[in-house]
């Protein structure tokens, strides 16, 4: 579903991403983790065709995102950490707009089911300005799922959600994966990654430092194979964990 080969992104002379190669197959959920500035968002933006790669290729369902952007983009959905919406379109108008862009003939029934599932049905005529952050996030999800994408990218999907929203989001991601979508999630929340991802990719300074199934990475970075993902993260990125509270100087 997602095939990335030698993906490199330069900002001037600064290398934001260097030679990333990976594959995510149908039903796979890849967790993209790394410290701040590791290149996670750049990776997702390159994969979604928002920014052009400097080198390398990205195939989405067999379509090169750079050479056949329309065919590739038709198969994907990209969810940013901040819900981006057109603030002059209502909830229902957003769905209508997306339906025409992606040519979804049966959009009304799908859209109605989605907004009911996401508890937005009574907000159909509301503008984004009248919605809470969580509601906006739900609307973005409804828009993204309207055309049943085969490839889904999430950038920090749990930001700003309440516990119920978090639970629903996790379920929704796993449901899409079970239905055969390839999913990539970029997140700092390692427990989320541990809970729902089948694969893990750790980036540091724009370079891939680890890639594989969660168990494979556990085996690689911890001899006993039972270490927590947080510990693995610190080992893989050569970062010292912050001192425990008890060891902090007392004020």
């Amino acid at each position: 579903m997602i095939q990335v080969t030698g993906l490199t992104k330069l900002y001037g002379e600064f290398v934001a991403l260097r030679g990333l190669t990976m594959t995510v197959s149908a039903g796979g959920v890849l967790g993209l983790v790394g410290p701040n500035g590791a290149g996670k968002t750049t990776t997702l933006r390159c994969l979604a065709g928002i920014i052009p790669p400097s080198q390398g290729t990205v195939l989405i369902c067999g379509h090169d995102i750079h050479r056949e952007p329309v065919a590739a983009k038709r198969q994907l959905a990209f969810f940013t950490d901040e819900p981006r919406l057109f603030d002059y379109l209502t909830v229902w108008q957003h769905l209508n707009f997306v339906a025409r862009i992606y040519q979804v003939a049966e959009w009304e029934s799908i859209g109605r089911a989605l907004i009911e599932e996401l508890e937005l049905a009574d907000k159909a005529d509301k503008l984004p300005g009248e919605l809470s952050r969580g509601m906006k996030q739900k609307l973005v999800i409804a828009c993204g799922l309207l055309h049943s994408p085969q490839v889904i990218f999430f950038d920090e999907p749990l930001t700003g959600l309440d516990p119920m929203g978090i639970r629903r989001m996790k379920d929704s991601i796993l449901k899409r994966a079970r239905e055969g979508a390839a999913v990539i999630i970029s997140s700092h929340l390692l427990h989320l990654v541990e809970e729902i991802c089948s694969h893990l990719l750790i980036l540091k300074g724009g370079q891939m430092v680890a890639h594989g199934t969660i168990d494979e990475i556990r085996q690689r970075f911890a001899a006993d194979g039972g270490t927590k993902l947080e510990e693995i993260f610190f080992r893989a990125t050569d970062a010292s964990p912050p001192p425990a509270v008890s060891s902090l100087p007392q004020s």
């Binding site: 934001a16 920014i51 329309v70 981006r84 603030d87 002059y88 379109l89 339906a99 862009i101 300005g129």
Partner: protein
Amino acid sequence: MTSALIYLILMTWRNRLVTRFKRLKQPKYLLGAVVGGLYFYFYFYRFLFRDRGGNPKGGFQDSDLALIELIGAAILCLIVLSFWFFPSKRAALTFSEAEVAFLFPAPISRRTLIHFKLLRSQLAILITVFFLALLSAGAGSWRLTLMHAGGYWVALSILSLHSLGASLERTRLLDRGLTNWGRRFIVLSLVLGVGVWVALWTRQTLPPLTDADTASAKSIISYGKALLTSGPLLYVLAPFRLMVKPRFAPDLISFLLALWPALLLMLLHYFWVIRSNVAFEEASLEASQKLAERVAAARAGNWRAAKKNQKAARAPFKLRPLGSPVIALLWKNLIGAGSILSARFLIVMLAIAFGVSMGMRGGMGKSGGPVAIAMMAAALAVWSLLFGPQVLRQDFRREVPQMDMLKVLPMPGWQIALGQILTPVVLLSGVQWLLVLVAMIFATQIETTKLPWELILGIGGSIALLLPCLNLVSLLIPNAAVLLFPSWFQTGKDAPHGIEATGQRIIFALGQFLALGLSIVPAAGVFLIFFFTFRLVLPVWVVLPIAALATALGLLITAGFGVYFLGKLFDRFDLSNETTA
């Protein structure tokens, strides 16, 4: 504590200025500042540096000045009444979100917060006074300019204090059980009472109003002068006259004599405000959040969202799920332009246009009224062709912050470009067709030249055919500029403000005029070839639309290449260069 707040105000302004000066190292800001500076220099040149005759009264007679002073006082009176009549919310001193976060939990008294608010409002008042003084300085000497500045400062400061005091007092009345409608009833009763008093006095004192009194503007002014200068209105407006008197003082002595009562009034207002002990924090908190949202929307160029009460707009047409996605972008942007398209707005505009046109026709009869209206409509159409693309921005210019949303759409670049650019083309063309129609209707009424109706139809139809194509070509430039120089359209806190922004807009407008001019030259050639070729065998009114059609096709081909190029620019547009730095 107050010193800390003064420090906050001064440092905010200093840092803002320093940042703006530092930005001048970048060519885009420097060029914008130079062009903007030149624009302001020449704009104010006539006020600042022209030979001034030193006429402190600006050519007015004493009686005229007294009348102007009274009119100014009456306007202030209406503004003050509006402070008491219209608002319905509790007192909300406007603070930024950061100020709320730092100052509200801090050990600062309510009175100090009010002082902070007053100090900050003074900065805004001083800037306003500076520009007002510049505009009014042409009539006299530098001393007079300073006196005018002093006059404006006193009047605006009292007005600002009264606005604040009224908002606090309204809240106190609400707390004591007087509802908004109760307060409005009292204000309305007072206004009606004064109105009845004035009407009775007028009936008893002034001669009855005759047709002669309303025959001309001069006689109406004369009657109004009598009403304002010799009746109860003279006393009712007395405090407001105190506010405006320093501004109209012809010399230094008069100014000083007028200044001290105004200062006394200001002092009374000051004590009134700072002695108000009304809880404004909760309402201010809500107001600051709304203000922050509106500022963010305005900085992002989204003035619709920046408005206080944003309402969902009805879709202009039913968007079917299948078909060209270009139409989806047009549909979306037309909804975004909802306030312009609303049926109520169009009906009001049509009613006004119809009323004005009929009024002018009726008033002028055969004396050139139709000519004036036809020419005015034509001039407005030309103006909209030149400046419309700068005003209507429902295209890439408004979507810079949402560019990544457009980037993920499964559409080729040229389709996105076309979809984005179509909305202002449609809106502008609609307005222009209306203006052409008005010009055509009134051109048929011109009796001096007796233009045949078929010729008018030919000319109007040809222009109507050409205008959308010209709009399309014209809008390519500002949109290409966004994609070529996106940082010039930066939004958020780094967006250019003031002189630099004015300069940048002037540069883009000049670029747009140049492109329009260049595209018109070959189009005009096509038009002339077709016109003179077909003129040999066909009448003018038939030849004109034929030539226009050929020219329109030529312009459409040009625009087609332009849209394709714009699409390529969009495809190559690297958002990362703008979002990282």
